[in-house]
C-alpha cells in the first residue's frame, strides 16, 4: 500500500520551493507532480524519483523560474505597458520637484543656458553654412575649375583659372550644358545724373542665368548680357541709384571704364550665396577695355603664368559622367601648356559647388567667404569646452542635493519603483531643465548672432535665419544635453538602497573621499583662471605693442596710394597745401605689407646675405624720424643715387665690423647683378611691427618703384585737409579714388587682430567663470543648509561669526587654491608661448599678471562663497536649533 502510494522526494520539492522564494510556481509544482504520478505508473519508484529530481533541477536552472523571480521582486502593477501614463507621471513629478526647489532650478537653468548658448550659436551657424548656395537648382551639378600652381618653392591653390580655359573646353568638348566665366573686378564708382555710389560687380556671360538660379526681374536673359557695354543691376542697387526712375535703357557710367546701358534688373542675391554683387556687366566688354588699356588686367598671353592677378572664375554644369571626362581634358590642357615651362607647373581640377564655401582648401582669389574644415572643428572644440563644464555642474548640484531626495527615492522603491523608473524620472527632470534652458540659450543666440557674424570675414552673408530644421536640431540638442547632464545623477539615484535612504539621510555615504564633484569644481576654476590670465596678458601685449617705440615716428603722417601718378607732379601739387610739411615717397608702408626677401653678396665672395629692401626717396628718412648714425642720406642731386644703399644697424653688425664708419663705401652685388655702395647706416627700427626680429634691411632709391607718398602734415582739422587733398588729387586728372590713411591708424589696425582675440578670451572667460561660480554656489548652498544645525551649536558654544564663515568657506577656498596651482603653470607656459608666437618683441607673463588674475578669481569666488556662508554664520541659533 505504502509503496503504491509513493510520493515525490520531499527534499527536491523543498529545494525548488526554497529556491523560488516568493515567486509564484504553483502551476510548475503541479506540472512536476503530475509528471511524477504519470511516471510512477509505468516506471520503478526509484527512476520516477530520479526523474522528478532531474525535472526540478531543470526548472531551477531554467529561464522560466528566473523570470518569475524577477517579476516577483516588484509590485505587479509596477510594470506596465502604458508608457504614456508613466511619462505623464515622470513629467508631473519632475515639474513638482523643480518648482519646489526654485533656487536650484534657477541656478541650473542659468548654468545650462550659458553653457548651451555657444553650441546653439554653433548649430545656427552650421545651419547657415550648410544652406550656402543651395538655392541654386543646379547646386548638385555645378562645378568650378580651380588651379593648383607649383612654383617649385611652394604650391598654391587658386579658386580662379585662366580665362581662356572655358573657351578651350567649349571648343573641344561639346557635352557641357552650361558654362560661365565670371571676372571679379573691384568696386567702381557708379554715376547716374550726378549721383555717385560705389558698387561691386562681375563681368559675366548670358549663361549666368542658365547656370545659377538668380532671378532676372526685368529684361531678357538671352540678350541682356550679349552686347558690350550692357549692365544688369540688382533691385536694391537700382533703387538706390535711380530713386524711382525707370532704370531700363538708362546710361550709367562706371568709374573710368565708360558708359553702360542698363539692360536688366535682377533680384538681389539671397543671403547664403557665395556670389555677391550689385552689377553684372557683359563679358565681351572686357576685351574692348583691355584693348583701350582702361582696365589693368592681365592679358591672354600671360594668363597661364600669372595666377595672382587673375580673377576669372569658371563655372560648369556637368553630369557625374562628364566630370571624369572633363577632368581628363583639364589634365591634357595642363600638360600641353606647361611641358616646356621650368619655373611653373599648374594643374586644374573641378571643385563641386558644395566645397566652395565649406571645403577643406582655403583658396587664394576666393570669390566669396570661406568657412572650411579646420575652423569648424576648432569652433566645435571650443563649444564643448563651455558645454561640458555646464553639464558637469548640473550633475554636481544634483548629486550634492541627493540627501534631500533620498527619502523620496526610498519610498518610491519600497512601493515598487523600478531602478529603471527612477532612472527615467531623473532623466526626465534634466531634459525638462535643459529644454527650459534652451529658451534662454536661443535668447542669447539672437542677441549675439549678428555681432558674431560681424567679427567673421564674410560672416554677414551667412543666413542665420531660424528654420524648422534648425528648431528641431536645437530641441534634439537640448534633449541630448539633458541626457548627458542627467546620466550621472540618474545612475547614482537609481542605485540608492531604500533601507539606508529611509533609515536616515545622514547615514548615507555621498561620495568617496576625493570626490568627483571636487575634481570638477577644481577643473572649472582652473579653466576660468586660465582664461583670466589670457585676457590679462593679451591685453598687456596689445598695450605694450601700441606704446612700443618702433624707432620711427607714426604721428601726423598720411600715406597716399600713388596709383601711377607721377611722383614729381604729385610732390609739387601737394606741397602747395598749407597743412603739408614735407612729402616723401616709398615703395612700401611699414606694417601694412610684408617685404620681399632678397640677397646680396660681396663682389669677390659667393656667400650671400639675406636682406629685406625698400625703395625710398631722400625725404623719407627725415619724414619717419629715422636716425642716421653714420654716413649720409640719399642726395637729391647725386647721380649715384641708384647705386647707393643705406643699411640698418643689424646689417652692419652682420658684416662683423667694429665701427659703423667702416661699413661706408663697402660694395655689394645684388642678385640681379647691380653693384651698390653703402653710403649710410641708420639706427634699427621695427619694420615688421614687432612680429619678427629685426634683421638685415637696406634702403634703395628708385622712383620707378614708388607706390606711396608719405605726407607729413601739421593740422588738427583733418576733415578740411583731406577734402583739400582730394580736390588736388582730382585736379591731377585722376579718376581713381583718393586713398589716404594715417600711418598711426594703419599700425593700430594691424594690431586689431589681437584685440579680437582679447574679446574672444573675455567672452569665454566670462562664460567659464559664471558656470564655475554657479557650480560653487550650488555646493555651498547645500553645505550651509546641511550644516545649519552644527553652526547653531557652535554659535551657542561661543564661536564668532568670523570663525564660522571661515569654517564654512575653508574647504572651497582650498579647492580654488588647488585650481590656481594647476592653472598657473599651464597658463604661464601656454601664454608665454602664445605671446612669442604672436610677435617676436613681446611681453612675458609676469608675476604681477598672475597675482592680478588670481586676485580676480579669488574675489569672484569669495564673493560667491560669502553670499551664502555669512548668512548662515549670522543666523540666530534659536531659529536653526528649535526645529527638530
Amino acid at each position: 500500500m505504502k509503496s503504491s502510494q509513493s510520493h515525490p522526494p520531499k527534499w527536491a520539492s523543498r529545494l525548488l520551493k526554497w529556491y523560488a522564494g516568493r515567486a509564484h510556481i504553483e502551476d510548475l509544482q503541479g506540472d512536476l507532480e503530475e509528471v511524477y504520478y504519470d511516471e510512477v505508473n509505468c516506471l520503478s519508484p526509484l527512476s520516477a524519483k530520479f526523474n522528478y529530481t532531474w525535472q526540478v533541477l531543470s526548472l531551477i536552472f531554467s529561464y522560466a523560474l528566473k523570470k518569475r523571480q524577477v517579476d516577483q521582486s516588484y509590485h505587479p502593477y509596477s510594470i506596465t505597458n502604458n508608457n504614456t501614463a508613466m511619462l505623464r507621471n515622470y513629467i508631473k513629478v519632475a515639474v513638482r520637484s523643480l518648482t519646489r526647489n526654485k533656487f536650484f532650478t534657477i541656478i541650473n537653468v542659468l548654468g545650462l543656458s550659458l553653457g548651451m548658448s555657444v553650441t546653439v550659436l554653433y548649430i545656427g551657424f552650421m545651419g547657415g553654412l550648410l544652406k550656402f548656395d543651395k538655392f541654386h537648382e543646379n547646386y548638385d551639378t555645378i562645378y568650378k575649375i580651380v588651379s593648383t600652381v607649383d612654383l617649385n618653392t611652394e604650391v598654391r591653390e587658386y579658386e580662379s583659372a585662366p580665362a581662356s580655359m572655358a573657351d578651350i573646353l567649349r571648343e573641344n568638348y561639346a557635352g557641357i550644358d552650361y558654362s560661365v566665366k565670371i571676372n571679379d573686378w573691384m568696386t567702381f564708382e557708379t554715376t547716374f545724373n550726378g549721383k555717385e555710389l560705389p558698387m561691386n560687380g562681375y563681368f559675366t556671360e548670358s549663361s549666368f542665368f542658365d547656370l545659377f538660379s538668380f532671378e532676372l526681374i526685368r529684361g531678357n536673359p538671352q540678350t541682356a548680357l550679349s552686347n558690350p557695354y550692357q549692365v544688369i543691376m540688382t533691385k536694391s542697387a537700382a533703387d538706390k541709384l535711380f530713386s524711382g526712375q525707370d532704370p531700363i535703357g538708362q546710361l550709367i557710367s562706371l568709374g573710368n571704364i565708360g558708359e553702360y546701358t542698363v539692360s536688366g534688373i535682377m533680384a538681389d542675391p539671397p543671403k547664403g550665396s557665395h556670389l555677391n554683387f550689385e552689377l553684372l556687366v557683359s563679358y565681351n566688354t572686357l576685351a574692348i577695355l583691355r584693348q583701350n588699356k582702361k582696365l589693368r588686367q592681365i592679358s591672354d598671353a600671360s594668363e597661364w603664368n600669372t595666377f595672382n592677378d587673375n580673377f576669372t572664375h569658371t563655372y560648369l554644369q556637368l553630369s557625374d559622367k562628364q566630370v571624369t571626362e572633363v577632368e581628363l581634358i583639364l589634365k591634357q590642357i595642363a600638360q600641353e601648356k606647361y611641358q616646356n615651362n621650368e619655373d611653373l607647373k599648374a594643374s586644374f581640377s573641378l571643385l563641386p559647388m558644395s566645397e566652395v564655401v565649406l571645403g577643406w582648401t582655403n583658396f587664394n582669389n576666393g570669390l566669396g567667404p570661406y568657412f572650411g574644415g579646420p575652423a569648424i572643428f576648432g569652433f566645435a572644440a571650443v563649444t564643448l569646452l563651455i558645454l561640458l563644464p555646464a553639464c558637469f555642474n548640473y550633475s554636481n548640484i544634483s548629486i550634492s542635493r541627493s540627501m534631500k531626495r533620498a527619502k523620496e527615492i526610498g519610498i518610491r522603491k519600497v512601493v515598487g519603483g523600478h531602478k529603471k523608473q527612477i532612472w527615467y524620472q531623473f532623466i526626465t527632470e534634466t531634459v525638462i531643465i535643459s529644454l527650459v534652458a534652451l529658451i534662454g540659450s536661443v535668447g542669447i543666440f539672437f542677441m549675439i548672432k549678428d555681432e558674431f557674424a560681424d567679427t567673421l570675414a564674410g560672416g554677414s552673408v551667412v543666413d542665420f535665419e531660424v528654420t524648422m530644421v534648425m528648431i528641431i536640431a536645437f530641441i534634439i540638442f537640448a534633449i541630448v544635453t539633458g541626457v548627458l547632464a542627467g546620466i550621472v545623477p540618474a545612475a547614482y539615484f537609481s542605485k540608492i538602497d531604500p533601507v539606508t535612504a529611509l533609515k536616515g539621510a545622514s547615514s548615507m555615504k555621498l561620495f568617496g573621499k576625493t570626490s568627483f564633484k571636487k575634481v570638477l569644481i577644481v577643473a572649472q576654476f582652473s579653466l576660468s583662471l586660465f582664461f583670466i590670465i589670457g585676457v590679462v596678458v593679451l591685453f598687456k601685449q596689445v598695450n605694450y605693442s601700441m606704446n612700443y617705440d618702433m624707432g620711427f615716428d607714426q604721428e601726423n603722417l598720411l600715406d597716399v596710394e600713388l596709383r601711377g601718378v607721377d611722383t614729381e607732379i604729385f610732390k609739387t601739387e601737394f606741397a602747395k597745401q598749407g597743412a603739408v610739411t614735407s612729402i616723401s615717397m616709398s615703395s612700401h608702408v611699414i606694417g601694412a605689407e610684408g617685404f620681399s626677401r632678397d640677397w646680396l653678396h660681396y663682389p669677390d665672395e659667393k656667400d650671400s646675405i639675406q636682406i629685406r629692401q625698400m625703395f625710398i626717396d631722400e625725404n623719407y628718412i627725415s619724414n619717419l624720424g629715422l636716425m642716421i648714425i653714420a654716413g649720409e642720406n640719399f642726395k637729391k642731386t647725386s647721380t649715384l643715387k641708384e647705386a647707393s644703399i643705406i643699411v640698418n644697424e643689424s646689417f652692419f653688425k652682420t658684416l662683423e665690423l667694429t665701427n659703423s664708419l667702416d661699413a661706408l663705401g663697402e660694395t655689394f652685388v645684388l642678385d640681379n647683378g647691380e653693384t651698390v655702395n653703402i653710403i649710410g647706416v641708420v639706427k634699427d627700427f621695427n619694420y615688421t611691427l614687432l612680429r619678427d626680429p629685426i634683421s638685415n634691411f637696406i634702403f634703395r632709391h628708385n622712383p620707378a618703384k614708388f607706390k606711396y607718398a608719405n605726407i607729413k602734415v601739421s593740422t588738427t582739422d583733418n576733415f578740411n585737409m583731406l577734402s583739400d587733398m582730394e580736390a588736388t588729387w582730382k585736379s591731377l586728372g585722376q579718376e581713381q579714388k583718393f586713398e589716404a590713411k594715417f600711418f598711426d591708424k594703419e599700425i593700430e589696425e594691424a594690431f586689431q587682430y589681437s584685440n579680437a582675440i582679447v574679446d574672444i578670451f573675455s567672452f569665454m572667460g566670462f562664460l567659464a567663470i559664471t558656470v564655475a561660480c554657479l557650480g560653487l554656489l550650488g555646493m555651498v548652498v547645500y553645505s550651509t543648509e546641511t550644516r545649519a544645525k552644527e553652526v547653531g551649536i557652535r554659535k551657542v558654544m561661543g564661536a564668532s561669526t568670523k570663525n564660522l564663515t571661515y569654517l564654512l568657506s575653508k574647504e572651497y577656498l582650498n579647492m580654488i587654491a588647488l585650481a590656481a596651482l594647476i592653472a598657473i603653470p599651464i597658463g604661464y607656459f601656454f601664454f608665454n608661448f602664445m605671446l612669442t608666437m604672436q610677435q617676436y618683441y613681446s611681453v612675458t607673463v609676469g608675476i604681477l599678471d598672475i597675482v592680478f588674475s588670481l586676485l580676480m578669481l579669488l574675489s569672484i569666488g569669495a564673493l560667491t562663497l560669502a553670499s551664502q556662508t555669512i548668512k548662515t554664520a549670522m543666523a540666530n541659533p534659536v531659529d536653526t536649533l528649535q526645529t527638530e
Binding site: 504553483e26 502551476d27 510548475l28 509544482q29 503541479g30 506540472d31 512536476l32 507532480e33 503530475e34 509528471v35 504520478y37 504519470d38 532531474w54 525535472q55 533541477l57 531543470s58 526548472l59 531551477i60 536552472f61 531554467s62 529561464y63 522560466a64 523560474l65 523570470k67 518569475r68
Partner: protein, 108 residues
C-alpha cells in the same frame, strides 16, 4: 515577420494550437514528446513558453485544481493573434522555399 521564431518555439506554438482549450504544461509536454519522439524537461519547456509570452505570442490563464497535481492549479496557454500571423508567415516562407528547392514540392 515579427521577430525570430526558433524551431522548438514553433513546435510549442503548434502543439498549443493543436491542444486548444486543454493546453497546459504537462499536456503540451506529453503531446510534444509523443509527436516529436524526444524527451523534454519541464524546465526547458517552461523557459520556451516564458519567452513566447514575452514576445507576446502566448497568453495564459490559471485553471482549476486537480487531485493528481496535489491540489495545485493548472496554467492554460492560448495563442495570440500575433502568434497565428507569425506561424502563417513561417509556413508561407517554408512552402515557398520548398517549392523552389530541387527536392520537389510534395503536397502531403
Amino acid at each position: 515577420m515579427k521577430g525570430y521564431l526558433g524551431e522548438f518555439e514553433e513546435l510549442v506554438l503548434l502543439t498549443i494550437s493543436m491542444l486548444g482549450d486543454t493546453a497546459y504544461g504537462v499536456a503540451i509536454k506529453e503531446a510534444l514528446e509523443q509527436k516529436a519522439n524526444r524527451r523534454i524537461t519541464v524546465g526547458s519547456l517552461h523557459s520556451t513558453i516564458t519567452r513566447l509570452e514575452e514576445k507576446g505570442l502566448l497568453s495564459s490563464t490559471m485553471g482549476e485544481a486537480t487531485a493528481v497535481r496535489g491540489g495545485r492549479k493548472k496554467r492554460y496557454f492560448q495563442l495570440t493573434a500575433d502568434a497565428r500571423q507569425v506561424l502563417q508567415q513561417v509556413k508561407a516562407l517554408r512552402d515557398d522555399l520548398w517549392r523552389s528547392s530541387e527536392l520537389g514540392f510534395e503536397q502531403s
